[in-house]
Assembly symmetry: C2
Homo-oligomer: 228 residues x 2
């Protein structure tokens, strides 16, 4: 099989980054489908096509593997969304719309992502989250949330948005964007056909943007943005 990659370390056999990536991908899917406790390490190894011991070689734990999967999803979202939220050139109405599109498209690119995140969001009411999950939420979750709240406040000041409760509104927006995807198995059950098909996703996208605009924009702001 062709030439070997110029691996940095000495004594490296095979293609470790590829192996690592394969494990991470398999873990992501298994965790999203089955949950942390429901996921089986044997199954993850099987999906990745590697020996189970490699999971523990690359990632300490099952929990460590989970944290890595969660971190990848969250940092990917953060990266994309943060850049559009920091665009002072755009008025709040357009920034919000662009955010919603970006968030939606990121999720749509891998419909399994939000289920992983939602599973984390649902984790344990009374008890605390795992240290790893806390760090991820601290680094990615909180900044995003508070940045969005600030955006709502700016929009209200600018007269783009109705006078709504910023905190509650952010929750409603995210819920609208995300709910279709985290309920996909149910969607599949309710309506025939594949809910992840491009046409269905496109329909959902349009509906989400329309719903959010109508819910938040003032009539004046609504007129200014042409609905794509």
């Amino acid at each position: 099989m062709v030439a070997a990659i110029k691996s940095g370390k000495s004594g490296s056999r095979g293609e470790p980054e590829k192996t690592r990536a394969a494990i991470l991908k398999a873990a992501l899917e298994e965790f999203a489908h089955e949950g942390v406790t429901g996921a089986r390490t044997d199954e993850i190894a099987r999906r990745a096509g590697v020996n189970k011991a490699l999971l523990y070689y690359y990632f300490k734990d099952k929990e460590g593997l989970y944290a890595a999967a969660l971190d990848q999803v969250f940092s990917g979202l953060h990266e994309r969304v943060a850049s559009v939220l920091e665009r002072p050139d755009l008025p709040p109405r357009e920034r919000l719309l662009l955010y919603a599109q970006t968030h939606f498209d990121y999720i749509a690119s891998a419909p399994v992502y939000p289920r992983l995140v939602q599973r984390e969001f649902m984790r344990s009411a009374g008890r605390a989250l795992s240290p790893a999950a806390s760090r991820i939420m601290e680094r990615h979750g909180k900044p995003l949330y508070s940045r969005l709240e600030k955006l709502i406040e700016e929009g209200i000041s600018a007269g783009d948005f109705r006078k709504v409760d910023p905190i509650q509104t952010v929750t409603s927006i995210i819920g609208t964007i995300v709910f279709y995807f985290i309920s996909m198995p149910a969607q599949h059950f309710m309506h025939a056909g594949d809910p992840a098909s491009p046409e269905r996703i496109a329909a959902r996208r349009a509906a989400v943007l329309d719903f959010i605009c109508a819910a938040i924009f003032t009539p004046a702001a609504a007129q200014k943005v042409c609905k794509p």
Copy 2:
């Protein structure tokens, strides 16, 4: 423990219905917090204050116990919501509002419910749902969903609602109602204080109704309903 109830069957010791109910309640909480696979039957028995073997005596399986818990939550919702959806005396705008309030209040009465349901909604992408879950969804999920879709259509015809896609809109509405509750641990993490406190719930309730109305109602319909 006063006088014993007049139990129907002969040879009955203790109070079986109470025991059954205690098990079901404990199971409901454990399943909602930990998921089906994460839930521990020993823990359910401990919480219910009964011997573990009783779980298998009253409910066949762990899966059977889960199905019973899910059924209770779903049928409770169905019962309450169906009655308000079948009120031809109310115009669509008021019926929708009443539905949203009813759904919200049902969930708020036991904030653990929607997490149980959401866990089921997320279950397995490719594979099918369990037979028991399928039956429950068939009996409660589908009727509710299609009744809501019909309501949206009626509202559009009546000029109460904007011209929206009924199917997508139902998903958005449910998402808005439910998302706060299924993300409670995350809410707790993002904002200090108890997200299940009466004040927070009240604030959420007002915001949800406002969000939904603004998103769906035509200006004319919005004026007709006074926001409570």
